[in-house]
Each structure stands twice: as structure tokens, then as C-alpha cells.
């Protein structure tokens, strides 16, 4: 482009990378630390668009994104749609369920092939089964973004959580983070553990024994069932939603007893570092995993998390859809 051709770009070699390695964002597990930093830096630059009067830039004009949500979602779907609109991409929304071809018995692969016929550039998929985004990525030319697959990963949630934390503390490295609640059913917990440990934070996962997956330490986090002890001196306390819809059996005695032992109350948060922040990916079960007092306190960054959803998803869309590094040396200068 002119910017490149007008001037020889001879600034000292950048230490950072300027592109992601893959056409897909399937999870955090296989991202390098420098890719995570690139995503967060780009998201930070995208933030200012939200403050403008005209919330639209032409970067993805003429690109088509399909939002394929087989599982209910409010904030994730809305923030992807907002991100697509602000970047001027065209989008199609598909919700599995009533009246769609899925209800009529179409297989996932046939649904995918139908979509392929419309030549989308990118597919954003949420599904209750782990691995669906990976399956689509293998069978489609389009890039695929995982917007949550079963209890596996939810990479954009982890990225927006990281952006929220980084904005507060200026760093991720060395922070003490406690992730508490229904770890076993939580893709948010998995993606966050991958991301935060990769970036050098010290992560402890905490929950009742029935909700702690076996061998969770292999992900790089410490595990404990003692919430009061875990919170001691923490910088970040991240509560998870009790996923009542994913639990087939009763895994804890009652909501009230759960709250007594694992709910984030003001007294418990007082044991953390004085600057500690309380997080929750939403939707919250007030009085089950978090008290209203904490959720609405100045230490709560829950609304910042929601606000960071759009710039993070803009960054992911932008980085996956522009300038592929494997297409060769750029022309010009």
C-alpha cells in the first residue's frame, strides 16, 4: 500500500510478530505468548472505536462472516455481531434449533457444506460438543473461530478476561489468579488457565471435589478445595457460573451450602490483596457463586469484561481476515 510504498519502513526490526500463525482461532492451548500479546495489543487499539460517534471502520468491507450458534448465547453472539458491524463485515446469523435444517436432521458436515457454498471468509461457531470448531476447520476453506465448544475452550472469553486484567494491573506476569467454581464443566476455566499460565501468571483453580476435574494440575495450575485459603493474597478472583444445565447429577448438596463454602462474599474478598479484582464471565447466579455486594462493588470488573468483549472480537476478526503472512513477500516499497 501507499504507506508501505511511500516510505521505506526501516524502523528497527520489531520484536513483536504482526500476524497469527493460523487461519483459525480454535483455542488458547496452541497459541504462543507473542500471539496472545498481539491479540491483546490489537484489541486495545480497537477499544477507541467504541468511544467514537461513528462506530464503524472499513477494514473488513466485503468480507463475510457466518455466526453459527448451535447453543444459546447472548453476550458472546451480540459482541461478535457488534464487532463484525463495526469492522464493516457482512454477517449471517444461524441459530441451531427450531425451524432450522438442524432440527430437520441435517448432519453437521452437511450444514457446513451448505455454508461453504456461500463462500464465507470466516465462521464463528458455538456448539455444545467439544471439537466441533476443529471439525469445521478441517472441512472448510473458511477460517473458524471457536465461540465456545462444550467444556473444552472459549478462547475469546479468556482473551477479554486477560485484557481486563492487563488494563487493571498493566501486566499478566507474576499475578496471582484464583479461578473458582465449577471447573469441571467450564471451558472458560480451561481457556483462562492456558492463557494465564502461558503469560506467566500463577493460577490456582478451586472448587468442591466433585467439580474439580481429575489431573487438572497437568494444565499448569494448582488445585485446591479450600477457597478461603486460595483467596489469601490473590490479585484476581475469577468466579465461574454454576453450569446447572451441564450437570446430569447433583454434584453439590444445595445452592445455599455451595454459597457458604464457595461463594465470593465481601468477607472472603477481603482476604485477597487490597487491590484485588473480582471477575465473572456471566451470566451470574447471584447468591450462588457470588454475592450481590461483591458483584456491584468497586472491586468488581464484571462490566469491564463485557465492554472488552467487542474490541477483543474485533481484534480476532481483523487479525484472521487481513494480510496473511504465508502469501509471500509484500510488493512495493
Amino acid at each position: 500500500m501507499s504507506g508501505a510504498r511511500d516510505k521505506a519502513d526501516l524502523t528497527p526490526a520489531r520484536q513483536t510478530i504482526s500476524a497469527l500463525r493460523s487461519k483459525d482461532l480454535l483455542g488458547i492451548e496452541h497459541l504462543e505468548a507473542e500471539e496472545i500479546t498481539l491479540l491483546l495489543d490489537t484489541a486495545e487499539s480497537m477499544r477507541s472505536i467504541a468511544e467514537r460517534q461513528i462506530k464503524k471502520v472499513p477494514a473488513l468491507r466485503g468480507r463475510m462472516v457466518v455466526n453459527l450458534f448451535f447453543e444459546p448465547s447472548t453476550r458472546t453472539r451480540f459482541s461478535f455481531e457488534t464487532a463484525e458491524k463495526w469492522l464493516s463485515a457482512d454477517s449471517l446469523n444461524f441459530s441451531g434449533g427450531k425451524g432450522t435444517s438442524v432440527e430437520k436432521g441435517e448432519s453437521l458436515l452437511d450444514t457446513a457444506r451448505t455454508l461453504q457454498a456461500m463462500s464465507p471468509d470466516l465462521i464463528v461457531v458455538r456448539h455444545s460438543s467439544a471439537g466441533v470448531p476443529h471439525f469445521l476447520a478441517r472441512h472448510l476453506d473458511a477460517g473458524v473461530i471457536n465461540a465456545g465448544d462444550g467444556a473444552h475452550e472459549h478462547p475469546t472469553q479468556a482473551l477479554l478476561d486477560a485484557l481486563t486484567i492487563r488494563s487493571r494491573f498493566g501486566r499478566l506476569e507474576g499475578l496471582r489468579v484464583v479461578i473458582a467454581g465449577d471447573i469441571a464443566h467450564s471451558r472458560v476455566a480451561r481457556s483462562n488457565v492456558f492463557l494465564l499460565t502461558r503469560m506467566g501468571a500463577e493460577v490456582t483453580v478451586c472448587g468442591p471435589p466433585t467439580l474439580l476435574p481429575p489431573r487438572v494440575e497437568e494444565l499448569g495450575a494448582k488445585a485446591t478445595t479450600d477457597f478461603d485459603h486460595a483467596v489469601e493474597g490473590a490479585d484476581v478472583v475469577m468466579m465461574l457460573r454454576m453450569q446447572l444445565e451441564r450437570q446430569k447429577h447433583s454434584l453439590f448438596p444445595s445452592k445455599r451450602e455451595y454459597f457458604a463454602r464457595y461463594g465470593l462474599t465481601a468477607e472472603r474478598l477481603a482476604r485477597a490483596s487490597p487491590e484485588a479484582i473480582a471477575m465473572h464471565p456471566g451470566p451470574m447466579n447471584r447468591g450462588v457463586e457470588i454475592s450481590s455486594e461483591v458483584a456491584d462493588s468497586p472491586q468488581s470488573v464484571i462490566l469491564e469484561q463485557v465492554a472488552n468483549g467487542v474490541p477483543v472480537r474485533m481484534a480476532v476478526l481483523y487479525l484472521l481476515l487481513t494480510g496473511r503472512p504465508w502469501e509471500g513477500e509484500r510488493e512495493g516499497a
Partner: protein, 186 residues
């Protein structure tokens, strides 16, 4: 594009010449802009920014009024986002003042095809409705692809397409110099 691919051909301007050129441009702005009161400078990242700051500073010295300076990142407005590789790093646009009804002097180091300026005009217009936008560049090297011209030019340098103009500023490159570089084998 890496530096290794370019040969240094000639240094065409040194710090003293660059300083005098910026002085002259500031005088031209003072003389020709009727609306100095509402004037603001916007530099296009990366090397439009030092030019904007220096012009604003020199003009302030001349007319004893401060002028606001903003920074514009045009990455999201480029017309080649899907073809250029590797893609540019997205940085922040920082314009802390209201653009409405101001006269804006858009600044860049080199004017070449005009595509950067086209993108910058779109970027500025999305942020507000300036009364007027003028263009100031340190070097005009010709080869326009769009009908865009600068109002204030430091120096016009006729170039061949295979040549590259390299502007260096103390703030970004540790020295004030302008070089003509050339791609080898052409």
C-alpha cells in the same frame, strides 16, 4: 520489505536543511491560513507525527498560541488490507480534541501515490466534521495514483518508481535525515 534489500543511494537532506524547511512551512501556514484560532495538527503514523509536532511548535512560536496535535493510525482504512503481507501492526489513533469546525493540517513525511492520504481523509472524517483539511508533507516524490495534492510541501523530489524515499526524524530514527534508497537489480 527489509532494509537489507535496499541500497543507500544519496543523502538529500540533513538536519539543518530539514529544520529550515519546517520553519518555512510554519511561516507559510501562518501566512496562508486565515483561521489560525481553530487550527489543529494531525500526524499520520509513524513519521507524520514528528512533522505535525514540529510544525505546531514552530507555528506556536510565531503566533504565540498553542495548537493541539493528534495522531492518526490509518491501518483500518487501508485499501489493501487483504493483499498486504505481513499486515501492519494496528496502533492507536489519539486525537483528544474535538475536530468539529476546526481547520486540520494533516501531516505526513512523504506524499507518493496518494493512497495513504485518501485513507487518512476517511479516518479523519469518521472522527468529526472539520471545517477544512489541508495537507502538509516534508517530501513530495510524485507518481500520484489519486487526485490528491499537498498544500504545504517541504521539498519536491523527482524520483523513479524503483527508488525509495527514507525520511528519518530524531524522534523515530535518532537523526534528522532524508535519503534516496534504491532496490538492487533495477
Amino acid at each position: 520489505m527489509t532494509e537489507a534489500l535496499l541500497l543507500k543511494k544519496a543523502k538529500i537532506l540533513d538536519a539543518e536543511r530539514i529544520g529550515r524547511m519546517i520553519d518555512r512551512m510554519a511561516h507559510e501556514i501562518a501566512e496562508r491560513q486565515k483561521d489560525l484560532a481553530g487550527l489543529a495538527f494531525v500526524g499520520i503514523r509513524t513519521r507524520g507525527v514528528p512533522l505535525a509536532m514540529r510544525l505546531a511548535e514552530r507555528l506556536s512560536d510565531l503566533v504565540k498560541t498553542p495548537f493541539p496535535v493528534g495522531t492518526l493510525d490509518i491501518t483500518l482504512y487501508r485499501d489493501d488490507l487483504s493483499t498486504v503481507a505481513p499486515q501492519p501492526l494496528l496502533k492507536k489513533t489519539e486525537i483528544e480534541f474535538d475536530l468539529n469546525d476546526r481547520a486540520v493540517i494533516l501531516c505526513d513525511d512523504v506524499l507518493y501515490t496518494g493512497r495513504t492520504i485518501r485513507a487518512a481523509l476517511d479516518g479523519v472524517i469518521d472522527l468529526g466534521r472539520p471545517r477544512a483539511i489541508r495537507l502538509a508533507v516534508l517530501i513530495d516524490r510524485g507518481h500520484r495514483e489519486f487526485p490528491i495534492e499537498a498544500n504545504y510541501v517541504g521539498k519536491s523530489v523527482p524520483t523513479a518508481q524503483r527508488e525509495v524515499i527514507k525520511v528519518m526524524f530524531r524522534e523515530t530514527d535518532a537523526a534528522d535525515e532524508v535519503w534516496i534508497l534504491e532496490r538492487p537489480g533495477s
